[in-house]
């Protein structure tokens, strides 16, 4: 007998406007032994990196990826970030979130970050499988993330830095997973990875690789996520210390998800890969920063139970004290 999950966590009907895909997804859903929570299937790949707890724009990191930069010993970094994501799969889905992030420099090489979507609104709409319209939304806090970054290497050459860091963290299920749609995954997830960068007055280069090991909730363990990012940032002009410092970025962001396991059964239609290109910017003045970018997918190979990412837009304000 298949076990059940809370009603609020059940997925919406497969509706994406494509009759062939609707039929395929419906058949797959019918064959599926259990009903997957919304957070397990359609949303796993399409979460903005911040929502998945692996990203963060803090302190001269790329907008969507991560970098090895840490804050100074005893320093605080505070950030407010607005993020909007649109997906389309079984349902038309949107997520508007306001993230708050606080970073503290334990040492100049070790920083600790606490991040939480303090307010988010998720909406789902589309046709139900048996007919009828689904229109639902939920508002509340998101899952919180605590992560540490340890700069394990640095080399200086004039103003240029080469450095590397390892990252570890945990995503705590503080959000409501019973809401419609779910505001959190309901599981405790773990994050690990590494990142390197070259920082210079003229240009920056970053790359990072992270894995998010998802925990189990409601007898469902979502497939692990593997994130890989690369970015380049170019300054139009060499900055002065007390002047405004603009930087233009282009990021490559990739995520691949492994199969979700529900009630011990592997779900092949929950795998997939999304590759995206993300133009962005920084504008800093002394200890203040504005950052933003848009993640635009150019390749998506997804299982039938996954939703396509349309775009994610991010705008952030940051201050260091």
């Amino acid at each position: 007998m298949p076990r059940t999950v809370p009603e609020a966590a059940k997925p919406a009907a497969p509706v994406d406007g494509s009759p062939g895909r609707i039929g395929r997804v419906a058949r797959i859903a019918a064959r599926t032994a259990v009903v997957l929570p919304a957070s397990a299937g359609a949303q796993i790949l399409s979460q903005p990196s911040r929502g998945a707890g692996t990203g963060g724009t803090l302190f001269h990191n790329p907008v969507f990826g991560l970098g090895p930069q840490t804050i100074w010993k005893g320093g605080f970094g505070m950030e407010l970030q607005g993020a909007f994501t649109r997906r389309k799969g079984q349902l038309e889905q949107e997520r508007l979130a306001l993230h708050a992030e606080l970073t503290y420099g334990i040492t100049e090489d070790l920083s600790l970050t606490f991040a939480v979507p303090v307010a988010q609104r998720r909406t789902e709409s589309g046709l139900a499988p048996g007919g009828g319209q689904i229109d639902r939304d939920a508002t509340g806090v998101g899952d919180a993330v605590i992560r540490a970054k340890w700069r394990i290497f640095h080399e200086f050459s004039g103003a240029t830095q080469y450095h590397a860091a390892v990252i570890g963290g945990v995503k705590l299920p503080v959000a409501s997973s019973g809401a419609k749609p779910a505001l959190g995954s309901g599981s405790t997830d773990y994050i690990g990875g590494a990142t390197i960068s070259r920082d210079g007055l003229r240009y920056y280069l970053w790359t990072s690789a992270l894995v998010k090991v998802n925990g189990e909730a409601f007898q469902v363990r979502r497939g692990n996520e593997y994130r890989y990012d690369a970015a380049v940032g170019v300054r139009p002009v060499i900055p002065t210390y007390k002047g405004v410092d603009p930087l233009l970025l282009v990021e490559f962001n990739g995520v691949t998800a492994a199969r979700t396991v529900a009630n011990g059964a592997s779900q092949p239609e929950t795998v997939g890969t999304i590759l995206a290109i993300s133009p962005g910017f920084w504008l800093t003045h002394r200890n203040l920063a504005l950052k933003g970018g848009v993640k635009i997918p150019f390749y998506q190979a997804l299982g039938a139970l996954e939703s396509e990412l349309k775009f994610t837009a991010v705008f952030a304000f940051e201050i260091h004290v």
């Binding site: 302190f59 001269h60 930069q69 840490t70 804050i71 100074w72 010993k73 005893g74 320093g75 040492t107 100049e108 090489d109 700069r151 640095h154 200086f156 050459s157 004039g158 103003a159 240029t160 830095q161 920082d199 210079g200 007055l201 920056y204 060499i238 900055p239 002065t240 210390y241 007390k242 002047g243 410092d245 930087l247 800093t284 003045h285 002394r286 200890n287 920063a289 260091h320």
Partner: protein, 126 residues
């Protein structure tokens, strides 16, 4: 013609006397005096400051040091110029610690005044 020669010889004699009466090293003393009259300044060359946003940490650390009245940073050269209070000085170790706590490294430290701490160059560690 003889008169011109007399004038020239007197000018030459005056120059020789002036040179003889001027103490050796007077220019160095003048420089030192000028420095004593002006503010005390320490120049710290910092490695790795690739943006003003991250260099802000260096400012925060260096400005908190006792005796530092003002600070200016030039990113292109990595030069932090610390203007000190009257008669103040900052040990090299404290300057190096402050810069390293900000996530950077010190290349050189120089002063425009006599100091017990002396100059510092990371290449030879002194």
């Amino acid at each position: 013609m003889k008169r011109i020669a007399n004038v020239a010889s007197r000018i030459a004699l005056a120059l020789v006397l002036a040179a003889a009466l001027t103490p050796v090293g007077a220019s160095a003393q003048d420089e030192a005096k000028a420095a004593d009259d002006g503010p005390r300044v320490i120049e710290v060359t910092i490695l790795g400051m690739s943006c003003p946003f991250c260099a802000y940490g260096a400012e925060q650390k260096l400005k908190k040091l006792d005796g530092v009245a003002d600070l200016d940073i030039v990113l292109k050269t990595g030069l932090a110029t610390l203007t000190l209070d009257d008669d103040a000085d900052v040990p090299n170790e404290k300057l190096i610690d402050a810069v390293e706590d900000a996530g950077f490294e010190v290349a050189t430290i120089t002063r425009n005044f006599e100091s017990e701490y002396g100059d510092y160059d990371a290449k030879d560690g002194a």
